[in-house]
């Protein structure tokens, strides 16, 4: 189909072997142009064509034509909507306003088909039809609508679909959890239940900015950390156990004898040779706490750091313990004021039981400290670094224990330096305004 704008540069993105977002946008643009379902579009029908056009222009100029941030939102909420505007509105009127909405995903992202259809129908009619399933924080992300549609979308979401907006700005962000016991035998606590309970408990913090900056909870049912809480959340709740790893010696022998496939057959696409328990499990244990004598597997559980490797390799033979709960870690973040940080252990073990009073007490004591002492745009991890972990222990009333050790840190992000960018950080405002309207 011939679209409004020629897009030779971004067309190249469709030539690789991988799925292309350009093809996806073109498909939506074509669908909107044909409108075979006679949808009463509430924003320009050519929004996706203009989106392709502005993206092409950005590739041509090597810089963005979006302005982000703004005063837009729904009444009474200080989060959930991120204003976005195009700085070439005459050229691309369909994306003059192109606001993002964050929609609070259900725990573990379980949907019915009907629910998904309702979301998609709403977004086709009142937005661009383009979604991001899911954003980094876990939200359902609706990409691109106009200001007059915001309240209408919010009304339909809340009244017809029973759905709320998620968090953005200096708010509690949408809490997020792993699949938990619904699909996984490793879950040491019900992540969905606590994620849902705390989302309801802290509605005010989710919708009305209360903090110096963003704050994230994430709930992982076991140390495999499928929602990466240890790297991405100010408070990480990671499932663990206090007793011993359960061993089925007969099943261990079945793995060694080749009757059971290691890693539940996950890497079976290639012939790795016969399973070698010594090489693939015992020698890879980070604390060296395992022993195999040819007929019996032994684990010195006191030395186990819950790395999960042996359990992942031999899930039929090894299972997490039965006295389960979670560890609470604090302070993970991406680099903004300071470098990237992983969470640090604060509570080695706590039972996770409704109504979660002990956990709520801990959360609120941390918030009180951060709201009082945190600088503008300072994450909890940075405050802990600035004032010290000891201060955190003071405000939470916890005693220092040997488990509160730091992990080696590494920085997974790449930032450009001024000398690496042509022209540095300085720009000629008059030259800039030739191409970007105020």
């Amino acid at each position: 189909m011939e679209f409004k704008h020629k897009t030779p540069l971004i067309d190249q993105l469709e030539t690789g072997p991988w799925p292309s977002f350009v093809s996806d946008i073109k498909r939506e643009a074509e669908s909107r142009r044909k409108n075979e379902r006679n949808i009463d579009y509430q924003i320009p029908a050519d929004v996706c064509e203009d989106l392709l056009g502005v993206l092409e222009l950005s590739y041509e100029h090597g810089r963005t034509h979006w302005k982000h941030g703004g005063i837009v939102g729904v009444f009474g909420y200080g989060g959930g909507v991120i204003g976005r505007y195009c700085d070439q509105p005459e050229m691309f009127p369909g994306v003059a306003h192109f606001h993002t909405l964050r929609v609070n995903q259900p725990s573990s992202k379980f949907y019915t088909t009907k629910y998904l259809e309702q979301l998609c129908d709403l977004w086709e009619r009142r937005g661009s039809g383009i979604t991001n399933m899911h954003g980094s924080t876990g939200d359902i992300v609706f990409l691109g609508t106009t200001t007059p549609q915001l309240e209408e979308i919010f009304y339909e979401l809340t009244h017809n679909i029973g759905q709320d907006l998620g968090g953005s700005g200096s708010n509690l962000r949408t809490p997020s959890c792993c699949l938990s016991g619904a699909r996984c035998e490793f879950a040491c606590y019900n992540t969905q239940a606590i994620c849902h309970a705390l989302t309801n408990e802290y509605q005010d913090e989710l919708h009305r900015p209360a903090f110096p900056y963003k704050f994230k909870f994430k709930f992982d049912g076991c140390p495999n950390c499928c929602v990466a809480s240890i790297a991405r959340s100010d408070m990480s709740f990671i499932g663990t156990w206090r007793d011993d790893i359960r061993i089925d010696q007969e099943a261990v022998k079945a793995y060694v004898g080749g009757e059971l496939k290691p890693n539940a057959g996950a890497h079976a696409g290639r012939d790795w040779g016969p399973f070698d328990i010594q090489k693939e499990v015992i020698d890879l244990c980070p604390t060296g706490c395992m022993r195999w004598d040819g007929s019996k597997l032994e684990i010195n559980n006191k030395e186990c750091t819950r790395c999960m490797h042996c359990i992942n390799v031999m899930p039929r033979a090894l299972r997490v313990g039965q006295d389960t709960g979670c560890s609470i870690l604090v302070g993970a973040k991406a680099p903004i004021l300071d470098g990237a940080q992983m969470s640090s252990l604060l509570v080695p073990f706590i039972k996770v039981e409704e109504p979660y009073d002990e956990i709520k007490e801990l959360i609120e004591s941390i918030w009180d400290w951060w709201m009082e002492e945190g600088k503008n745009r300072e994450r909890l991890g940075e405050l802990i670094k600035r004032q010290g972990f000891q201060k955190l222990l003071d405000v939470t009333g916890l005693k220092a224990i040997p488990q509160m050790v730091k992990e080696p840190r590494s920085n997974p992000y790449i930032f450009w330096k001024e000398e690496e960018v042509p022209g540095g950080w300085k720009r000629d405002i008059n030259e800039f305004r030739k191409y970007h309207q105020r």
């Binding site: 941030g69 837009v72 200080g78 991120i82 700005g169 900015p209 900056y213």
Partner: protein, 79 residues
């Protein structure tokens, strides 16, 4: 300080500010130093609901300003 006096203080302080029209929550704590931070946060959010103030959000950070102040409204075609 009663609520009406606190609101008046906030509005007067914001009206006097030159150059900047959007402020962090912590700036409001300084305007009412005798009040608890949580109480100021609640008051500022209430003032947004009463349409005396408005949020400005970059997506990652939220600031507050007098409703309609600054060039934001015009820039966003809201006026």
């Amino acid at each position: 300080m009663d609520e009406e006096a606190a609101k008046k203080k906030i509005i007067e302080t914001l009206e006097k500010k030159k150059g900047k029209s959007k402020f962090y929550l912590k700036d409001f704590y300084k305007m009412l130093p005798d009040e608890k931070n949580r109480a100021v946060k609640n008051l500022v959010n209430k003032m947004v609901r009463e349409e005396l103030l408005e949020y400005w959000s970059s997506g990652s950070t939220t600031l507050y300003g007098l409703k309609g102040a600054g060039k934001q409204a015009a820039a966003e075609h809201e006026d």
